[in-house]
C-alpha cells in the first residue's frame, strides 16, 4: 500500500525504464529519420532520469553533473544528426531510413 502512496526510488526507475523502452521502440520501428532521432533523445533522457534519481538518493552532485553534460551532448548530436539527415534527403530524396539500404550483406 505504501508504495502507491509515497513516490519512491522504484517509481523513478520504472519511469526511466519505460522511457528507455519507448526510445528503443521508436528507434527500431519508426521509418522517419527525425522520429528516430527523437527516440534517441528519449533514451538519453531516460538515462538522465536515472542519474538524477540516483544522485538524489545517494547524495552528491556527480549524477547531476553527468546529466547536464548529457543534455549538452544530446544537443550537439542532434545538430550533427540533422545535418546528415539533410544530406540524406539531398541524395536519396527521402528520410525513410528503411529505404537507405544500398549497402548490405
Amino acid at each position: 500500500m505504501e508504495m502507491f502512496t509515497s513516490i519512491g526510488l522504484n517509481h523513478f526507475l520504472t519511469i526511466s525504464a519505460i522511457l528507455f523502452s519507448f526510445g528503443m521502440f521508436a528507434v527500431m520501428t519508426r521509418k522517419n529519420a527525425i522520429v528516430i532521432l527523437m527516440g534517441v533523445e528519449l533514451i538519453l533522457n531516460a538515462a538522465n532520469i536515472n542519474f538524477l534519481t540516483f544522485s538524489k538518493y545517494n547524495g552528491g552532485m556527480t549524477g547531476v553533473m553527468f546529466s547536464l553534460f548529457v543534455i549538452v551532448l544530446a544537443a550537439a548530436e542532434a545538430a550533427v544528426a540533422l545535418a546528415i539527415v539533410i544530406n540524406i534527403f539531398k541524395t536519396f530524396k527521402t528520410v525513410d531510413v528503411s529505404r537507405v539500404d544500398t549497402m548490405k550483406e
Binding site: 528503443m24 528507434v27 527500431m28 520501428t29 531510413v97 528503411s98 537507405v100 539500404d101 548490405k104 550483406e105
Partner: protein
C-alpha cells in the same frame, strides 16, 4: 690376405661387367660394334674360371673344400638392442661354385661366339653383347655370393638383364609384353624370397649363409618351427619365379620372344637354373614340410609342362616347356632330398639344353626365321651337323643310357622312389609316378620334334598364306593340303650354318655324353660330381630326429655336431655305400646326423636300379610311340587330336594358365587400381569437387560463387563454412533498424539466459 682363387674369381665376376660398360657406351664407335670385346673378355673369364675349376675340382678333389672372403659393406654402428651391426658382402668358393663358374662362363662364351654369327647384321648388334655381358655378370654374382642380401641383389639384376634381352626386339609388341611379363612374374617370386630373407634376418641380424646356418643349428631360431618352414617355402618362391616352377611358369615360354642365343643362355642353361642353385644353397635349412612342398611343386611342374610340350608347334616353345619340365625334375629332386642328383641334373641339363636351343637357333636361322615345326622336315640332309648334335642332345634329354642326362635323371628318379618309400608310400608315390610319366612324355615329344624337323620331306610349301607371319593357328591339321602357294623359305635358302655357329653345338654335344661326368654310364654316383657335391647335413630338427632323441639316441649331440660344421664330408663313405647298393652300408653307413636324411640316402641307393629299369622302359615307350605316330604314321596325330579334342586343347592352350591369370590377377588389379584412382579423385579429393558440384546447385543462395572457395577448402567444413557464411551474411540486411533489433535481441537474449542461470 685374400686367397688367390678369390682374387681370380673377382676378376671373373668383373670381366663381363667391364664388357657391358664398354659396349653400352662405345659399341657404335668400335669396329664390328665391339663384339670382339665381349667375346674376348668372356674368353678370358672362361679361361680363368677353368683354372679355378682345375684347382678346386681336379687338384683338391675334396668334398669339404671351401674358401670364403668377405668385407664390411655397410656399418650400422652400435645399434641399440643389437650391438655393433654390419652388413657383409663376400665370396665363397666351394666345389659347386667352381663347377657353376666354369659352366656359366663356358656356355656364355659359346653363346657369345654363336651370336657373332646368329645376330650378324642386327642394328643393335653391339648392344646385344653388352646385355649378354651384364647378364653373365649377374649370374656369376649369384653363383659367388656368400649371403642372402647380395644373392637377392644379383637375383634382381638377372631379372633386369633377362628383361632387356627378352625385349631385345622391343619394336615387336609381343616381345615388349613378354619382357614385362617375365620381370613382373619374377618379382612376384622375389617377394616371397625377400620375405624369407627377412624372416631369417629378423632372427639373426645377418644375411650370411654360414652365420644363419650355424645359428639355426645352434637352435637360436626363437620363432616357432612353422616360421622356419615358412622361411624355407618363401625362399623357395624365389626359385619358383626364376626357375619357372608352377604356378609362376607362365613367363618362360613367352620369353622365347628373345633372340634364340638368349634362350639358350638364359632360359635354358643358366638363369632358370639359378633358382635350383639357390634352393641348393639353402637346402640345409629346409624343414621336411618345406621339402615335401618343394617336391610336390617340382613334380607337378615337370608333369604339367611335359603334357603341354607334346602339342606345341613352335620349335622353341617345345624346348621351353621341356626346360620347365626338366627344372621341375631338379626341384623335385631337391624336394625328395636327392640334393646331389638335382644339382647334377642342373649341370648336365645346362649343356644339352643349351645345345638344343642353339641347334634350334641354327634351324630357325637356316629356315629364314620359320619356327613352326609343321612347315619343317627333312632337314637332316641340308644340316647334318646340326642334325647330329641336336639328336645327341635330344637323347640326353630323353635320358638314353650313355648320355649325361640318363645319369642325372635316373638319380633323381631313384631319389623320388626312395623318398616315397621312406615317407611310407601311399600318396607319396604320386611324386615318382609323375616323374616317370613326364619322363615318358619327354621322350615322346622330343622324338616328335626330331622327326618333324629332320625327317620326312620338307613341308615348307604347305604353309598356308594366312599363317605366313609366324602366327601359329590352333589347327592340328597342319598337314592338310590347303593353300598350295610356294612362297618364302622353300628349301632353296636352307643350308648348314657356318662353323662359328657349328662349333658351340659340337662342344655342347660332346659335353652331353656320360664319360665327361662318370666312368660308369649307368651310375652317376660314381662320377666326380656326386662325389664333390654331397648332400649337406641339414641343420633343422626333423621329426625323425626328435623321435630318436625321444628314444634316447643323442640327437641333441648330433645336432650340436652338425652345428660345428654344416657341410660335413660324408661322400667318401657315401660312394662306397653306393657300391654296396646301399645294402652293405649298414656297417659304415653314411653318418648323417639327421636320421631322416640317412634314411633317404639309403633308400635312394636301394632304388637305384629300379629307377634305371623303369626310366629306360619309359624312354622306350615314349620314343617308340613317337615313331609309331610320326615315322610309321600308324596313328594319325590329327585324328587322335580330334578324338580327344578337349584334352588336346587343354594341353595346346597350356592348361589355360595365361587366360586364368589374365582374368583374375591382371584384370583384377587393373580394376582395383581404376577403382582406387576413381576413389582418389572423387571421394578423397572430391569431397572437394563433389561439394563444388553440390554447391553450385545452391547457387541461387547468392549471386556468384567463387568455385575456388569450394574446391580450395579441404572437406565438408568447406561446405559448412560456405553455407553458414551465406546464411550469416543475410543478417546484414543493410537496414540500420534491423541492426538495432539484432543488438537489442542479443542483449536481452543474454540477459534472459542469465536470468535462467540466476533462477537455478
Amino acid at each position: 690376405m685374400m686367397h688367390s682363387l678369390i682374387q681370380l674369381s673377382i676378376v671373373v665376376l668383373l670381366l663381363p661387367l667391364l664388357s657391358f660398360v664398354v659396349l653400352i657406351f662405345f659399341n657404335r664407335r668400335l669396329p664390328r660394334m665391339g663384339d670382339f670385346v665381349g667375346v674376348g673378355l668372356l674368353g678370358t673369364a672362361f679361361s680363368i674360371a677353368l683354372y679355378i675349376f682345375w684347382t678346386v675340382v681336379v687338384q683338391h678333389y675334396d668334398p669339404a673344400y671351401r674358401i670364403a672372403w668377405d668385407f664390411t659393406w655397410l656399418d650400422f654402428g652400435n645399434v641399440p638392442g643389437v650391438g655393433p651391426l654390419v652388413v657383409k658382402m663376400g665370396i665363397v668358393i666351394d666345389n659347386l661354385t667352381a663347377i657353376m663358374l666354369a659352366m656359366v662362363t663356358l656356355i656364355s662364351l659359346l653363346v657369345h661366339l654363336y651370336s657373332t654369327g646368329y645376330m650378324h647384321g642386327d642394328p643393335r648388334y653391339g648392344r646385344f653383347f653388352a646385355f649378354l655381358g651384364i647378364f653373365t655378370f649377374s649370374m656369376l654374382g649369384i653363383v659367388l655370393s656368400d649371403n642372402l642380401f647380395s644373392i637377392y641383389m644379383f637375383w634382381e639384376l638377372v631379372g633386369l638383364s633377362s628383361y632387356l634381352l627378352i625385349g631385345f626386339y622391343f619394336e615387336k609388341d609381343s616381345a615388349a609384353d613378354a619382357q614385362k611379363k617375365a620381370f613382373l612374374t619374377n618379382r612376384v617370386g622375389d617377394i616371397g624370397m625377400w620375405l624369407g630373407i627377412l624372416i631369417l634376418y629378423s632372427q639373426f641380424h645377418t644375411f650370411g649363409y654360414r652365420e644363419i646356418f650355424e645359428n639355426i643349428a645352434a637352435g637360436k631360431f626363437t620363432l616357432s618351427n612353422g616360421w622356419l618352414t615358412a622361411a624355407g617355402i618363401l625362399l623357395f618362391f624365389g626359385c619358383v619365379g626364376k626357375s619357372a616352377q608352377f604356378p609362376l611358369h607362365v613367363w618362360l615360354p613367352d620369353a622365347m620372344e628373345g633372340p634364340t642365343p638368349v634362350s639358350a643362355l638364359i632360359h635354358a642353361a643358366t638363369m632358370v637354373a639359378a633358382g635350383v642353385y639357390f634352393v641348393g644353397r639353402i637346402f640345409v635349412i629346409l624343414t621336411p614340410d618345406a621339402l615335401h612342398y618343394i617336391a610336390f611343386i617340382g613334380a607337378v611342374t615337370a608333369f604339367m609342362s611335359a603334357t603341354i610340350a607334346i602339342t606345341q608347334h613352335d620349335i622353341k616353345r617345345v624346348l621351353a616347356y621341356s626346360t620347365v619340365s626338366q627344372l621341375g625334375y631338379m626341384v623335385m629332386g631337391l624336394g625328395v632330398g636327392a640334393y646331389s642328383a638335382a644339382l647334377f641334373h642342373l649341370l648336365t641339363h645346362a649343356f644339352f639344353k643349351a645345345c638344343l636351343f642353339l641347334g634350334s637357333g641354327a634351324i630357325i636361322h637356316a629356315m629364314h626365321h620359320e619356327q613352326d615345326m609343321r612347315w619343317m622336315g627333312g632337314l637332316r640332309k641340308q644340316m647334318p651337323w646340326t642334325f647330329a648334335t641336336f639328336s645327341i642332345a635330344t637323347l640326353a634329354l630323353a635320358g638314353l643310357p650313355l648320355t649325361s642326362g640318363f645319369m642325372s635323371k635316373d638319380a633323381i628318379l631313384a631319389g623320388a622312389l626312395g623318398f616315397a618309400s621312406v615317407e611310407g608310400g601311399g600318396i607319396y608315390y604320386i611324386i615318382p609316378v609323375l616323374g616317370f610319366a613326364s619322363a615318358m612324355m619327354t621322350a615322346f615329344y622330343m622324338g616328335r620334334q626330331v622327326w618333324l624337323v629332320f625327317f620326312g620331306e620338307s613341308r615348307t610349301h604347305l604353309k598356308p598364306a594366312e599363317e605366313h607371319h609366324g602366327d601359329h593357328g590352333h589347327d592340328a591339321h597342319g598337314h592338310d593340303d590347303h593353300g598350295h602357294d610356294d612362297h618364302g623359305g622353300s628349301h632353296h635358302g636352307v643350308h648348314e650354318v657356318g662353323w662359328i655357329m657349328r662349333a658351340p653345338l659340337v662342344v655342347l654335344a660332346t659335353l652331353s655324353v656320360f664319360f665327361v661326368f662318370s666312368p660308369d654310364p649307368l651310375d652317376g654316383a660314381k662320377g666326380w660330381f656326386m662325389h664333390l657335391v654331397p648332400t649337406p647335413a641339414t641343420v633343422v630338427k626333423s621329426a625323425g630326429a626328435q623321435h630318436e632323441a625321444a628314444l634316447g639316441v643323442t640327437g641333441g649331440k648330433l645336432l650340436a655336431e652338425a652345428a660345428t660344421d654344416t657341410v660335413k664330408p660324408e661322400a667318401g663313405e657315401h660312394a662306397q655305400a653306393a657300391e654296396g647298393h646301399g645294402a652293405a652300408s649298414e656297417g659304415h653307413g653314411p653318418v648323417f646326423t639327421d636320421p631322416r636324411q640317412a634314411e633317404l640316402a639309403h633308400a635312394m641307393h636301394a632304388n637305384h636300379y629300379t629307377a634305371i629299369y623303369l626310366s629306360s622302359g619309359m624312354l622306350v615307350l615314349g620314343i617308340g610311340f613317337a615313331l609309331v605316330v610320326y615315322a610309321f604314321g600308324v596313328i594319325d596325330p590329327g585324328k587322335t587330336a580330334q578324338a580327344i579334342r578337349p584334352l588336346y586343347l587343354y594341353s595346346f592352350n597350356k592348361w589355360y594358365w595365361d587366360e586364368i591369370y589374365d582374368a583374375t590377377l591382371i584384370k583384377g588389379s587393373m580394376l582395383i587400381s581404376k577403382m582406387l584412382a576413381w576413389f582418389d579423385s572423387n571421394i578423397v579429393d572430391g569431397i572437394v569437387n563433389g561439394i563444388a558440384t553440390i554447391f553450385r546447385k545452391f547457387a541461387f543462395l547468392n549471386g556468384n560463387i567463387d568455385k575456388y572457395v569450394v574446391d580450395g577448402t579441404v572437406n565438408f567444413t568447406a561446405f559448412f563454412v560456405q553455407t553458414s557464411g551465406a546464411v550469416m551474411r543475410k543478417i546484414q540486411t543493410g537496414k540500420v533498424q534491423t541492426y538495432l533489433v539484432m543488438v537489442t535481441a542479443a542483449v536481452l537474449g543474454y540477459f534472459a539466459f542469465y536470468l535462467v542461470q540466476l533462477m537455478k
